[in-house]
Symmetry: D2
Subunit: 456 residues, 4 copies
Amino acid sequence: MALWDGRFEGAPALEMQEFGESISVDLNMWREDIAGSIAHATMLSHCGLLSAEEKKQIINGLNRVAEELEGGWRPVIEDEDIHMAVEGRLHALIGPVAGKLHTARSRNDQVATDVRLWLMKALDELSGAVERLVSSLSTCALEQGRVLVPGYTHLQRAQPIWMGHQLLAHAWAFVRDASRLRDARNRHNSCPLGAAAMAGTPHPIDREMTAELLGFAEPTPNAMDAVSARDHVQESVAACAILAGHLSRLAAELILWSSTEFQRVSLSDDWSTGSSIMPQKRNPDAAELIRGKTGRVYGNLINLLTLTKGLPMAYNRDLQEDRHALFDAFSTTMACVSVMNGCISSLTILPGPDLNGDPALATELADYLCSKNVPFRTAHHVVGQIVRHCEREGLGLDDLGLSGLQTFHQAFEPTVLEWLSPEAAVERRQSLGGAGWAQIEAQCARLQSLTSRESK
Amino acid sequence: MALWDGRFEGAPALEMQEFGESISVDLNMWREDIAGSIAHATMLSHCGLLSAEEKKQIINGLNRVAEELEGGWRPVIEDEDIHMAVEGRLHALIGPVAGKLHTARSRNDQVATDVRLWLMKALDELSGAVERLVSSLSTCALEQGRVLVPGYTHLQRAQPIWMGHQLLAHAWAFVRDASRLRDARNRHNSCPLGAAAMAGTPHPIDREMTAELLGFAEPTPNAMDAVSARDHVQESVAACAILAGHLSRLAAELILWSSTEFQRVSLSDDWSTGSSIMPQKRNPDAAELIRGKTGRVYGNLINLLTLTKGLPMAYNRDLQEDRHALFDAFSTTMACVSVMNGCISSLTILPGPDLNGDPALATELADYLCSKNVPFRTAHHVVGQIVRHCEREGLGLDDLGLSGLQTFHQAFEPTVLEWLSPEAAVERRQSLGGAGWAQIEAQCARLQSLTSRESK
Amino acid sequence: MALWDGRFEGAPALEMQEFGESISVDLNMWREDIAGSIAHATMLSHCGLLSAEEKKQIINGLNRVAEELEGGWRPVIEDEDIHMAVEGRLHALIGPVAGKLHTARSRNDQVATDVRLWLMKALDELSGAVERLVSSLSTCALEQGRVLVPGYTHLQRAQPIWMGHQLLAHAWAFVRDASRLRDARNRHNSCPLGAAAMAGTPHPIDREMTAELLGFAEPTPNAMDAVSARDHVQESVAACAILAGHLSRLAAELILWSSTEFQRVSLSDDWSTGSSIMPQKRNPDAAELIRGKTGRVYGNLINLLTLTKGLPMAYNRDLQEDRHALFDAFSTTMACVSVMNGCISSLTILPGPDLNGDPALATELADYLCSKNVPFRTAHHVVGQIVRHCEREGLGLDDLGLSGLQTFHQAFEPTVLEWLSPEAAVERRQSLGGAGWAQIEAQCARLQSLTSRESK
Amino acid sequence: MALWDGRFEGAPALEMQEFGESISVDLNMWREDIAGSIAHATMLSHCGLLSAEEKKQIINGLNRVAEELEGGWRPVIEDEDIHMAVEGRLHALIGPVAGKLHTARSRNDQVATDVRLWLMKALDELSGAVERLVSSLSTCALEQGRVLVPGYTHLQRAQPIWMGHQLLAHAWAFVRDASRLRDARNRHNSCPLGAAAMAGTPHPIDREMTAELLGFAEPTPNAMDAVSARDHVQESVAACAILAGHLSRLAAELILWSSTEFQRVSLSDDWSTGSSIMPQKRNPDAAELIRGKTGRVYGNLINLLTLTKGLPMAYNRDLQEDRHALFDAFSTTMACVSVMNGCISSLTILPGPDLNGDPALATELADYLCSKNVPFRTAHHVVGQIVRHCEREGLGLDDLGLSGLQTFHQAFEPTVLEWLSPEAAVERRQSLGGAGWAQIEAQCARLQSLTSRESK
């Protein structure tokens, strides 16, 4: 018998019960539900709405329900939702006094509180995991990243860089992801409990106290907003989606780098798998799955944005759907961050290709001419002709020699040959954040200090 | 020990195994997997690649695995996927001959076949369910739909209609949904089995035979496309998404119509629920949940579109993610169609509001003037002034009387009063598909013939 | 002739030029492009890379180009993008010295800088506009919001509230929107200029100086990240999307409230339109259009998330597509906020319906019983029976009288009749953020102080 | 003065006019608007609702408006929409008789008709363009596709194939795209004109006649559905989105194939561009832009799905937003198909890498063992060990020689060396749709017959 059946002549159809139940999803936050009830009972007693004895009975009872849940007890579908399940079990354990717990609250503010509590913890855990990934990337860059490789634009070889420069580009994106997750936490760190159905309650409760007991910064300021808002869920999942996008870019590079054609890295056996039909395969499955799960998080975001589109105030049953998307987004993103961290921590960076005379050094020739006071656009044009010539003749840029170069422009001098060395090319790039090794070391130091500061 | 471990020195990390496993999702199609294997074995034997005895052993073994699965046996996570699980179990039951089953196929074409088989059935079931909903709407329109209500544009009362006219507007949208699902079925009714990894197989197999045994119209024409394509999944889920959008529109109307302010319908107790704090509530939860699940299907679509964006050929592990979204989209949409059918089948349409003199009749006055040869734009302007006057004075349009109307335009004659009756207004609209009752009856007849023809 | 044509034998096809041009979109940020070039020239001169005379020529030239653009000069499609257009025009005006401006930069960091400059300004403007909307809602709540209306859950009448309570629920959501926009601004307030193609530059430039000249907090820390990242665009548009969702909810309420059935508000003529065929219509078009544009912003977000999915480093031409979505998202959202502000500022709140004896007061009866020490769940059940009785008999809750109520439970006393007054019901709800008027006044004071503080 | 201003005291604010105008978008379909009006006038006259003279005046007037629009005349923003603009101009040209044209229709069915007319044409054009692309791929496969390359799974070399096999995999996906576009056309080939506002019209019109005059298969069956439905737009854009996804996959391959590391193809200068800073670059911009525009089409789809979510019947102003997304989706997709066709038509396929002894031949060794009656799983394991050995020793599979192979399994015989040739490996794969050349030729023949049949 549902708790609200006084007015009804028939009960909902079984199919309706199954369609509407949220227990299978909300079980995920039974700890938060019980913690919220304990805080609520404590506050009610403090405000004189429960006697000391009633409070004691209720809290002891809630702790027993928690133990039972920990021990494997599970609600049935007729319980509808986790709140009804816990309260029903409490009633079975301690009798009618259990009914007093629902004073000055409704399921609307209860579920809103449960979700916020769950979310605060999830945001903490995810931002922590992202910082560990930043740290792994930084360590990998510093320890293995001094390998000369071509940097790409348009997937064309552009300029030589140290491999570490590219790893750090990803690291900085993740730094912003962690910061986004923390901002979401700060913005939504408020407690809906006591908002009741949407209009507050006539009982003389102390919402600051409940908020404090549960570790929130403050109570939510408007009771209707408290139960209707879902932007805390949307913003958090948007942060997950952007993070998933960043993971997909790094994953795509790992897949490219693992190919026979690129051969930049070797993934450890821990994070690779084989083929049922092609014995030679060593597939970068971990990276592919991370890339493949991107859309799942994007989809969860669109789900949540669609959910509230055009929805009038206040609570509508539609809103129950938010947890499915929220939990899936966080568990998917968390798993991807963790697996990516595993991949990066165990990555082997392979020796780079021979870049001597590679067309990726063409900019160096242009820069050389600039340094001899040739205007940039002229230099660019001259070097374009050199490149075309080499391509036609099948030559490297270093195969022309000084005299060859001079046939294209008289400003070339003997120093150009040393200038054309790939390592010299990279090491010249010492502008702040540039590809030179000193810049990489400086970034790593800054990243380590950022992530250790944040995780304190 | 994974089947592909000949080359590896270490095994994947446990976390990688959990991250990469698809069994928990793919169990959903174990029947298809076994059916595919039986057809494959039958074809292999027909082509001389299995002896009659080997075929018999394998098919008997597969049938035993099916029985075990039916009886509750479940693979473990180390089995990776449903194909490995079934083959592994087969091996345990019948020994090394099981290994011959994988001749001339790979997991790539196997999973592609399983998904297609599952999809053909799911498309059939869903289009059937949609047709039952069309039928319920048509029945409801015919049996209860002769109630005068305002039709709305911009949620403003526009013109009187029979309630049935509006129910049928939704029915026709669902007719197109069913047709879309059938088109998807026809377009993708081809069998990937035998495509192997992506290049076909050197064995002399008969792909037409396998296709026919499994009920497909033909084999897929290109082995790489066969394992890489996902547009059958995307198109099917897009059809679900458009259908979910249509459901959300009807759900939104049910919610509006159930409000105290509109009072157009009463949902049966089967499909309503109450409130834990407000005893008078009779909430249209079924409709709200249907509306709320819209985004979930949209999200699944975006998931699937994102999945293949920029993905090179051929199979990439990313593609494994398609089933999660596919299964969720179909089970969600199917449940919504079924619950909506329950709501409509048990719906009570309430008496409509009194529309005599309602501003929604203003168009009638304009049409009346047109029928007296006043140009439409002039008539429109005159009636605008009448409406403004009535609004200011708090009058109904029928309160002005003939003389009152004539002060606005001399073309009004005594017949205008009869003309202004709401029922007369509706019944004048006998253009094809218009709001007149005969048009509604004609549509219902056509809908019933459409849905009974399709479901044959 | 394109500036990069030294190596090519043919030019791109005209269709390719049209397909690839970004000028039509990027013209939107010519001011930022020129500002960036002026800052770059200033820094180059400071670092000895331009002579004082060259710097003067270049800056004067850039100012002339700006004047020409202000005066209506427009690039042609052959210019490809705004950077080439400005530099080309500069060259025409001041000759070859123009070529020196491109020292130590590339189009990659140039466009990244232009977009960031544009974005910082757009985020400021949008958060300011949102705060004006918060202020309008707060003013409307305070000045017109003391009207008794039913609050809804499930679109069913739930409990009486002051209209202002509901307006403020929306206001607080917008407060968080403004805060999200400011967080995005703070996170991405860094200058990419000097990152060059993706590896930095060998020239001894001063990136801190450029950053400071352009009003950024700092230079970006990694040159490859500087040109490849798009999360600043994604995060900003995600904030727009969440804001658009909030606007859609308020718009949906305005539409509902404008219906004949609800009659809660009257939109001013400024923000309504009529019908070409139905003269009585007064359509809430502004609100409908706001609601209708929600998907446009959601779509822009999905566009941007899809854009970078699986994209390897560093710059790829795909990334050029970001501005189309960014500009459209901001201009759409900005227009919606502004129009909504117009609607709210000129809104008339109508007298509410008579709520005496309305079922929405049922909770009051339950609370009354609780106050007489009846356990909540018992009270809830009793009141459910009262409501069902009244519904059957067509009575209001206040039609039963004391004796009628007492037939359901003996705890009812004469005070229950006063207790049942809708106004008393609302005014009892004085918990923090509750529906009582004092709570509304307190929220308005807090909102006004928040928005005036932010807009300083 | 708007045509509907009879009732209003004030006009909409200028900002509201700008916010609500649709002319800038709807100008795109002025031809359809005028064609619809001419058909409507013809039908009205046929049904006796216009005299022959009135019909003549109106049609002549409409033709003059068409000429003016062709000649550059443009409506102003006060005209609101294209229908009002055309009718207003008609009125200016022929006087009050113009007012008779709006008999028995409203702007709701007018715009619905315009959009359908536009859409039928756009679907035709796009499916035609897709078929041209299929034809180009097929031609390229046949003429240049007999180049041995590795086929990939997980971006790891898997098995040798002819390049043409991979091109045809893409071609078949596009075949389904064209078929999807045609299905959409067939499903929505019905005429809304005469549905009026949503209830039909009292005038004795002939909707079959209008439908036939405009080339539709039939009139829409329900007047409310006719003006409220948007699934024709959603389905068509979903088909564009799936097509855009297919284009993104081919584009991604072109980008990969153009890299120094892969070197599979050379894009013609027509479809490449250079770099402002790196003279050696030859960027596959066309392919990158195609890939980058994928999200734009996805975004348009989400826009349209969001638009109708939860929208009650019948016309709501929100629906006006559909054209922006529709037109952008089609123009973007059409441009991408056309540019892709340009790329493929001018593509040069380069000689493939040396695959002798490549690990991609490992499956051949396993198949060889199978052909000697070794069970597949045993063979797979043995070959895994061979591959691992070769990798460790830096050997090709063909470096082991017969005796080397026999140390791993005694079933190897001298024929294995011939068997290991890459070309032999490909040519063995003659299962239907397999990689063998005869299969490619057969597919090309089928594709050419499909596309020439369709384009008749």
